[in-house]
Symmetry: C2
Subunit: 411 residues, 2 copies
DNA sequence: CTTCCATTTGTGGATTTTCACAAATGACCT
DNA sequence: AGGTCATTTGTGAAAATCCACAAATGGAAG
């Protein structure tokens, strides 16, 4: 059975439930229409044959959480959000989800919602794809209308988020009230995460990830700022939050690597706080991480959290102090002079050794030299610098000055 | 042969050379009179029997350097400066010094010069002591006169030194001119060393040391400030200067320990500079060392030079910065909480381990625990703090935060 | 009282580090 | 060419570290 083009156009100005019924009649299967947040908008009323997933969706006026997470995990939503065509979905019996076909309702790039067609009375073939496409097109107008209000509120939410990020003259109670009035559920504890992409198109690319985590987000063009936190029944502690953020970033970066299109993706997050007055602080911390990851690319490659910055949290400041009072590490300069005079590279040896936390084996491996060569060089370094590498104080100061010195060159 | 009291009084207003002759006649031996700086003032003219040391002294109008250093080393001057009686000195043939007796010429506490009586024609016994005592008393007036001019200049030198220490609006050339006009030989390179004694009597105590090194010095009551440097023909480098200062302080502190009278002696020195405009800087650095030695008594016990401060150079500022920022090392706090909750002392274990530069053996010894206990504790620490002690960055940051945290408690 | 659990200490073997000594290399100087 | 010197690599033995497993201890909870 085929349908002439623009068949569903007649439903444009009718109730959206009627549109669902019309699609259902054509495809001879139960239909569900949801918005972008998976809230139920409409469903076809004919026929009782349905699966637990659809049943729960209708009863709860929203797609059940476990079904959603399953679909995210299977990559279904990723496809729906990026592909224009209907997506054919196998059954996932463990979450009560029967076989079905879905298509995103989009206006331009933006996804407004989804149409779900269950395959229960008859299979839905690729020949039906065009029908779903037309149905999606017909649904746009209604969803746009609906979206209008939500968008306005969303904009106000984002403005509020920026307010929290940039300044914080408001009291904790005021913040809570305003959040409530905007239907915004603030997680506790939370942390700010920044994703910095070289090209400007980060919004579209990361949309699936953000959707999946239902994160509050704003973007200033090059940086995407996320409010990380879990709005789960049982509250999680900061440690767990850190780990979940790490996990999130790992997946995101992995995906980015797979694309491998262009440039380096930088990401960082601030510490976890429970008071919303500290959102600005977490934001500034995340910014600091991004800044330091640019300055110490190799050293901070595995670092994303402000609390994991270690000495790099201090280095800029240390460098500034040292410059302000004209301090120079004389020993370091002696070594550098020696390197210059003898075309050697003891500085690199020293740095590698310190980076390796004094493990001679791994140092030698990294430098591709014999272990005895390393030990000889270290002895020379101790002689030239008049330093005792077994003295933790001297060693630490050396490590700091060395890294700070590197910074000078790179700036 | 004995002499009536005040025998030498008649020589009070006569030429000091006549006094020397008179003493020589009474003791039947060659006499030499020197000022506090060992410059020759007078000598008896009878009899040719003398030793190379006296001969050189008369010819050079000053006691030869090698004789002086030998006498300092043997502790002769130390005795002369502290004892009121004549000191009987054995022969030191290797520097051409025959057997002799010497006495300090003093006015109150201050030593103005020395009378030397060689023992060549007849031995000088303790019975002659009174003669020398009287002779010394008779010499005072002449030396005071002589000293008058020198003291005035010395005072102007000290004023100039303070000027250099505290401010430096003058140009290098101006400084040199003024130093020259005050007959002051400025060493190059130099460094400022401060000795801080709890009681006020440091001047007298350290006088021998300062005299020996011929150092420029001023005191502000509790602190003795020294200009360290060698005015040797061939210039020495900063490295050698550091070592000589270390050596100087080691000896001085050892002497102080031996006395063991009261309180702790603090000493520190700034970096070596060649430009006199930087004298203030070296002074401030030395002050900083003293300050930090008070704050980190155990940790900086072996540190005297500013260039050896290591992380302690940063720590105060770092601490202040972190506080201003409201930063807290969450991991450290977790460990402290654990210690509180379980009456354990993992923090001490961690600190000792870090101080020992990660050597398990010496850590276990210092803590008096089995090495496996240590390894177990370290594993627990890594678990509790969620830290990787093999990661140099984390480890260093931990070390810094831990020491800074300690500071907080002590202040 | 027993049981549980964190902690401490002991044992033994694999691995790594440290150190001393020797030989080879190669740059630089005479 | 020969010699000097810093550097690299090799060998081997002693010392230190790491790791897994087991047993003892001792306090807290049931």
């Amino acid at each position: 059975m085929s349908v002439q083009p623009n068949y569903f156009e007649q439903f444009q100005h009718v109730d959206i439930d009627d549109l669902a019924d019309a699609i259902g009649e054509v495809l001879e299967n139960p239909i569900t229409i949801e918005d972008a947040d998976h809230k139920l908008i409409a469903y076809s009323s004919h026929g009782e044959s349905t699966d637990p997933a659809r049943w729960s969706t209708i009863m709860g006026r929203r797609v059940p959480e476990k079904v959603l997470t399953r679909l995210w995990k299977e990559g279904i939503f990723q496809r729906l959000l990026t592909e224009d065509r209907p997506v054919h979905i196998p059954a996932f019996d463990d979450v009560g989800l029967g076989k079905r076909v879905a298509i995103a309702i989009r206006k331009g790039e933006e996804v407004l919602g989804y149409i779900w067609a269950q395959e229960v009375n008859r299979p839905i073939s690729t020949e039906d794809d065009e029908i779903l496409r037309q149905a999606a097109r017909a649904a746009v107008a209604r969803l746009v209308q609906r979206q209008g209000k939500r968008k306005a509120e969303e904009q106000r939410r984002k403005d509020f988020f920026w307010e929290l990020l940039l300044g914080n003259p408001a009291s904790e109670a005021q913040i809570r009230r305003k959040a409530e009035s905007l239907h915004m559920i603030l997680p506790q504890p939370f942390q700010i995460c920044i994703i910095d992409a070289p090209n400007g198109q980060l919004d579209r690319y990361f949309y699936p990830f953000i959707m999946r985590e239902k994160l509050m987000s704003v973007s200033d063009g090059t940086q995407l700022i996320l409010l990380m936190g879990k709005i789960s029944p049982q509250p999680i502690d900061s440690e767990a939050l850190h780990q979940s953020t790490e996990q999130f970033l790992r997946e995101l970066l992995e995906k980015w690597e797979q694309r491998g299109d262009a440039g380096k993706l930088l990401a960082g997050y601030g510490q976890a706080y429970s008071s919303y007055q500290e959102m600005g602080r977490s934001y500034r911390e995340a910014l600091q991480v991004i800044k330091l990851k640019r300055l110490f690319e190799a050293e901070t490659a595995q670092i994303y959290g402000y609390h994991d910055l270690g000495i790099y949290r201090y280095l800029l400041q240390l460098k500034r102090w040292s410059e302000a009072d004209g301090y120079q590490n004389v020993r370091l300069q002696r070594l550098k002079r020696y390197d210059r005079d003898n075309q050697s590279n003891l500085l690199e040896t020293l740095e590698t050794y310190l980076d390796a936390a004094g493990k001679v084996n791994s140092t030698a491996q990294r430098l591709h030299i014999h272990i005895n060569t390393l030990s000889y060089r270290l002895r020379r370094i101790e002689e030239i610098m008049q330093v005792d590498l077994d003295n933790q104080n001297q060693r630490t100061a050396l490590y700091l000055d060395l890294k700070a010195d590197k910074l000078g060159k790179e700036q």
